[in-house]
């Protein structure tokens, strides 16, 4: 007898189990609405989703287990499923009912999984999704007949249209009253299990489905050896373009809006450190969180659209072999590509990678991709120090250096992925499963909801933390202050304040560590400031060199060129230092937002700590080699 009957106040707990593309997530969303809570299972990169059943008379908690084809655990997500089903996962109460979610068009495979679930002897129900597809393809499947044969409740639904949901809402409230199967023949081997499946299918009269001709026709083009690669390239260029340039107007507007808000607050309040904290710390900090939103919204609209239409799986299918060379999967491609705009949405996009091992590897190497925040740093240093000449009359040297920096980042990402696969993540088994779902028209409502969920998840899970760290960094850079001196100009005051700040002390403290790279304490301060976001170093350098504004690009460039080390009388900045600094930015994980998102997405601070130290080590070594080699060659 179930405990739920004895203690009616305890919430009923049911879990959805099914293959990755069985429509489980769509079903879960319609069952739980906006009550879903997304987290991680302790210690693994496996997402845990739980929600409360809507329209229910009693409390029913619905757990959406990771998609799986098998209930014997080898990979982290399969192990979670196995342990939760057996009631052996710490912190997960026993289940009152198991709901097998089976795509009706892949009935035989689904029944194979159901057979394994029935072995557990817990109340089990079967939900057949996409039954409209079966009819559209000339098939016949009667849930009632199947229910009579199996001895358990069987319901057919069309999750994305809400068809057949009412009875499901009803039965989910009382799993203790579900009918239980008759005695099942033993099915220890796959052969025996599938003999049982074939028997059931024969008895229920499930006929073979006609091929999905529309999907086949489209696939002949989209997966064509030549055309397919061309279409893939085109879609990726479009996706890249959308986050790289379409998001810019909105980001600029957010930037300008918060700038104006800060100025308005400054004008309205008396000049004091508290006002500075409010305007440059809090208001600018909120702006620095919201500025990520346009890219996240655009990228996720794109990804969810491609996913709902059915192209995401095809894109992964096309590029899988290439990504497989470094131990990643086809699904790693879109997240990594997105990282060219910004690692924050890119790392979030890694959720589309089903196997935890490849997802983790993708997340860890993401920050190496040259994000748009590095561009202002590269532009400044290259414009200031790389000669404006052309090679062979056509190739600009400055552009070539910039291209080299981009390639260095991408190559390091791929090599690091291969390295991770053969070291830290070695021995963690992983399987490759992929299905090419039928093409479908997307629905605006579902698309909108998915994008909204992504944006909200970012704001709730990462936004607060990013805000907090940016305020801490602001304080480091602003306090303590220099004694006021009316004789100084505004730019000189800013410089004096920075030189007196805690960050400047830190910059001086780390000078011995960065001196071998050719960096002085002023660059040290810039490096500390760039922890907030990489491009901040440009503003900090402007402040250190008392340039009136960070937008005074020529002024800053000339100030950098003219800076002389008081001890040696030689210029501080030269081409070797500029190149070394660029290389430092290629490698180092100087972005607290990325660190925070990485921690949130992997469910642990261990991984971002590892990535940070690994990347810092590479940055130091890379800059050291660059500085020494280029000094020797040029000096």
């Amino acid at each position: 007898m179930s405990v739920a009957l004895e203690l009616p106040d305890r919430p009923v707990r049911v879990a959805l189990v099914g293959a990755p593309n069985a429509g489980k997530t769509t079903l879960f969303n319609s069952l739980t609405g906006s009550s879903a809570r997304v987290g991680n299972y302790p210690g693994v990169t496996v997402e845990r989703r739980e929600g409360t059943l809507r329209r229910a008379e009693r409390a029913v908690r619905v757990l959406d287990l990771p998609g799986t084809y098998s209930v014997v655990g080898e990979t982290p997500d399969e192990q979670i499923v196995e342990k939760v089903l057996a009631g052996r996962l710490a912190g997960e109460p026993e289940l009152d009912g198991i709901v097998a979610v089976v795509d009706a068009t892949t009935l035989r495979r689904g029944l194979g999984l159901l057979r394994e679930l029935l072995k557990r002897g817990r109340p089990t129900a079967l939900v057949l999704t996409m039954i409209d597809e079966v009819r559209a393809r000339g098939g016949k499947l009667e849930p009632a007949k199947l229910s009579a044969l199996l001895g358990i409740p069987v319901l057919g639904v069309v999750g994305h249209r809400g068809v057949g949901m009412d009875p499901l809402f009803r039965i989910l409230q009382e799993p203790a009253r579900w009918s239980r199967p008759a005695v099942l023949p033993p099915a220890e081997t796959p052969a025996a299990r599938f003999a049982w499946v074939d028997e059931i299918c024969r008895k229920v009269g499930a006929t073979e489905l006609e091929p999905d001709t529309r999907t086949d026709r489209i696939d002949r083009v989209l997966l064509h050896p030549v055309l397919g690669v061309a279409v893939f390239g085109l879609v990726m260029v479009l996706l890249f373009q959308s986050i790289f340039s379409w998001a810019v107007p909105a980001m600029d507007a957010i930037d300008a809006g918060f700038g104006a808000l800060g100025r308005a607050a400054r004008d309205a309040l008396p000049a004091s450190w508290a006002t500075d904290l409010l305007t440059d710390g809090v208001i600018a900090g909120v702006g620095s969180v919201l500025v990520f939103l346009p890219q996240i919204v655009i990228l996720f609209s794109f990804i969810h659209l491609l996913q709902d239409v059915g192209y995401m799986a095809r894109a992964a299918f096309v590029v899988d072999r290439v990504m497989g060379w470094v131990g990643l999967q086809g699904r790693s491609f879109v997240p990594l590509l997105s990282c060219y705009a910004c690692a924050v949405p890119g790392i979030m996009a890694a959720r589309t990678i089903q196997s935890p091992r490849e997802r983790l590897a993708t997340i860890l190497v993401s920050p190496f991709m040259t994000c748009s925040a590095r561009l202002p740093v590269y532009t400044l240093l290259i414009a200031a120090f790389v000669p404006h000449t052309t090679l062979f009359g056509v190739i600009g040297l400055q552009g070539l250096v910039l291209f080299g920096l981009y390639c260095l980042g991408a190559l390091t990402a791929l090599c690091s992925a291969a390295l991770l696969g053969s070291t830290l993540l070695r021995g963690t088994p992983s399987v490759f499963y992929m299905e090419l779902p039928p093409y479908r028209w997307p629905t605006a409502r579902i698309l909108g909801r998915q994008v909204w969920h992504s944006a909200r998840a970012f704001l709730k899970r990462a936004g607060t933390m990013i805000l907090a760290t940016s305020i801490v960094l602001f304080c480091l850079l602003s306090f303590p202050r220099a004694a006021p001196d009316p004789a100084r100009s505004e730019a000189e005051t800013a410089r004096a304040n920075l030189e007196a700040s805690a960050a400047a002390h830190l910059g001086r403290a780390i000078e011995p560590a960065i001196a071998p790279l050719g960096f002085d304490w002023k660059i040290g301060v810039g490096l500390i400031a760039s922890l907030a976001a990489r491009e901040v170093i440009v503003a900090t350098l402007a402040q250190t060199y008392a340039v009136a504004s960070k937008d005074d690009f020529t002024g800053l460039r000339d100030a950098l060129r003219g800076d002389v080390d008081p001890r040696t009388g030689k210029p501080v900045f030269g081409l070797p230092v500029a190149l070394a600094l660029c290389v430092f930015f290629v490698f180092a994980l100087q972005c607290t937002s990325t660190v925070v998102v990485m921690a949130r997405e992997t469910g642990s601070w261990r991984w971002p700590a590892l990535a940070f130290s690994y990347m810092l080590t590479l940055a130091w070594l890379g800059s050291f080699v660059t500085y020494r080699v280029s000094s020797a060659l040029l000096g």
Binding site: Y69, G112, F194, L209, L223
Partner: protein, 91 residues
């Protein structure tokens, strides 16, 4: 006759990897000392089952195949132990 002498019950069996696109085949028992991986068993890859390769990805791998009325993609490395007997006709 030769097959009997060499004690090979399925002389025509070839690696699934070598099966041509669009040709129906039957899964043969694995070679002695080898097994069909449990995961493939869970997906219904059982000796005697019919399957055919729908397509290969543009770069040759993975392959999409149809078995038991559904399609799925697998990498060549996963199906390395699978041997099939081509039926020589379209599915």
């Amino acid at each position: 006759m030769r097959a009997e002498l060499r004690n090979e019950p399925y002389p025509e069996a070839i690696p699934l990897e070598a099966l041509q696109v669009g040709v129906a085949a039957t899964i043969a028992p694995p070679e002695p000392g080898r097994e069909i991986p449990r995961r493939l068993g869970d997906l219904g890859f059982v000796p005697g089952t019919e399957l055919w390769i729908v397509r290969r990805a543009p770069f040759g791998d993975p392959i999409e195949l149809e078995i038991r009325g559904y399609r799925m993609c697998l990498r060549a490395e996963q199906i390395a132990n699978l041997r099939v007997t081509p039926r020589g006709d379209a599915p």
